[in-house]
Amino acid sequence: MDLFLQALVNVFDPITFLLVVIGLTLGMIIGALPGLTATMGVALLLPLTFGLDTLSGLMVLIAVYFGSIYGGSISAILLKTPGTPASAVTSLDGFQLAQKGEASRAMGISIVSSVAGGLISTFVLILVAPQLAQVALKFNAPEYFALACFGLSIIISLSSSSIAKGILVGMLGIMISMIGIDVITGVTRFNFGSVNLLSGVSFIPVLIGIFAFSQALTQFEEIFSGVTESVSVKVKKVLPTIKDLKTVCPTIIRSSFIGTFIGSIPGTGGDISAYIAYNETKRWAKEDDKATFGTGNVKGIAAPEAANNATTGGAMIPLLTLGIPGDSVTAIILGALVMQGVRPGPALFNEQKELLYSIFSGMVVANLLLLVIAFLGIRFFVKVLSVKKEYLAPAIMILCVVGSFAINNNIFDVGIMLFMGVVGYFLNKFDYPQSPLIIALILGPMAEREFRRSLVLSNGDYNIFFSSPIFLFFMSIALLSLILPIIKNFLPKKQ
């Protein structure tokens, strides 16, 4: 209990608190604008957090994460264009309700559901993570190798329509991560004579290039092809009625647990959990209620919104306990932690208890603040939707350059960012998923390091892997998740 009190004191430090408010607001703006995703927002803001202390820096990123996952629903409801992929399902019923002139009601439900989802998942995180960390403390090199493979295979199989493309992008990420000094032997490899590559490719320029610069290029493309949206809805009273709250309460609770659970599986994300929660809610609904889904049912808004915000807490579980990111945003947060000198993993729960509990409390506070800011500022966030892409895209590009330069004050990093941005643009264009690349940048080196460390430990005996049940368990799931979709392709299709 003392720990939580101390943690709360840390979170209510005026500067940290203010930064959380700023982070949430920026996150909501980023989330609301179609084309700017949560990942992009967190990637662009990451360089800004270097100067801050560990907790403040992390809390800004977490606040942006929470804010943008919620913010996506604003444009999903008003424009039928989800601001983030996680809100795609929200537009099904949200937009229909808005069309009936009840945009404010839809927004109110979405705010309450998002906050409830975020809070429930944070509490699950607080309860589950320490237990899981105790188990993970027993993990050794072979288990970590299996976990890394598991995380990689899940993200590849879920993020792409083509398994070949998903694996290829993941492998490219691993190749980028191999440039530089080998951790086991200290030998430099793949620097191709370049001094700048001696210490490897920095994570953040790659990230900003893939998730922000490439997106800005896609926005330019959309401007040139004449795709524009406009919003003309007036939002008034957004506080939901007691009757509505009673209707959606069971939906929110169920969806929050679904979201937390799915979020905790490495590689999944808000879009998948929102989709599953929506389907489950529909399945649980009474017959006459079922027919109204897709025509503006409030439960159809509550389910995806509770689930996608619940994913945030869920995704933090593997990040903090195992050092494995749950999705691309938590991959960036992992990068931020490492840069601050904190290595996430089970040891964190013994060595850095205060920081950990400050993060937990910060997440609760951030969710509550989200409620306040969203209700107070909803009209402002609706106005943000009318900002023209023509002004936004150049600004993002400048921020990409400044952000990637700021890390090491090095123009070479900016070059990496530009190169990866163009590569990311083509990946996007040719239907390659981007998130496996980022996850592979983190899990690839982990897989190689732990694989080789295992063999050094066993003096070259491969039995060290096969004698570990945990290794066999995770490896089987990893293999299944890659092979099943391929087998499915060869099976006769259902008519």
Partner: protein, 147 residues
């Protein structure tokens, strides 16, 4: 998008080949370690195999062959402008080059209002300067003029 995809996959194949050939020269590991080259070799073999699979898949498709649409060509012009901007920024400095490139981008997307073409680039540069240079102590490239 058939041709574009094939060219892209071929490029990835070459990158894989480069890594594979480079990894061949790495020595073996000692005391149980599989060595520096073990993982790179496996990964680059996968990369080469997968890019060949994707190329074959693409050849089988009977899509329309558009290499790049007009709007994506224009987007690449913007990317090129950004590359030139970064090179020149290193010589002429952030404060001078940023308004220039932002004004170019605005003009390129069709903004013709003169006051907007001046105010938005200057305003954006000022905002970034205040946030990063004054607020966060980032040392952005300066020109010989000292700005």
């Amino acid at each position: 998008m058939k041709i574009g995809n094939i060219i892209f996959s071929a490029f990835i194949f070459l990158v894989g080949l480069l890594f594979f050939v480079t990894a061949l020269s790495f020595g073996p590991g000692s005391s149980g370690d599989v060595g520096v080259g073990f993982f790179p070799k496996i990964i680059s073999l996968f990369v080469m195999a997968l890019s060949v699979i994707i190329i074959i898949q693409e050849i089988k498709k009977n899509d329309k062959e558009i290499l790049l649409t007009d709007s994506s060509k224009k987007a690449l012009v913007v990317a090129f402008a950004m590359i030139v901007y970064v090179i020149l920024m290193n010589i002429l400095g952030f404060v001078i080059m940023t308004p220039v490139v932002v004004a170019f981008m605005l003009y390129f997307v069709g903004e013709r209002n003169k006051s907007k073409l001046v105010l938005i680039p200057v305003g954006l540069t000022a905002l970034v300067y205040v946030c990063f240079v004054i607020g966060l102590n980032v040392r952005l490239p300066m020109s010989f003029l000292g700005i």
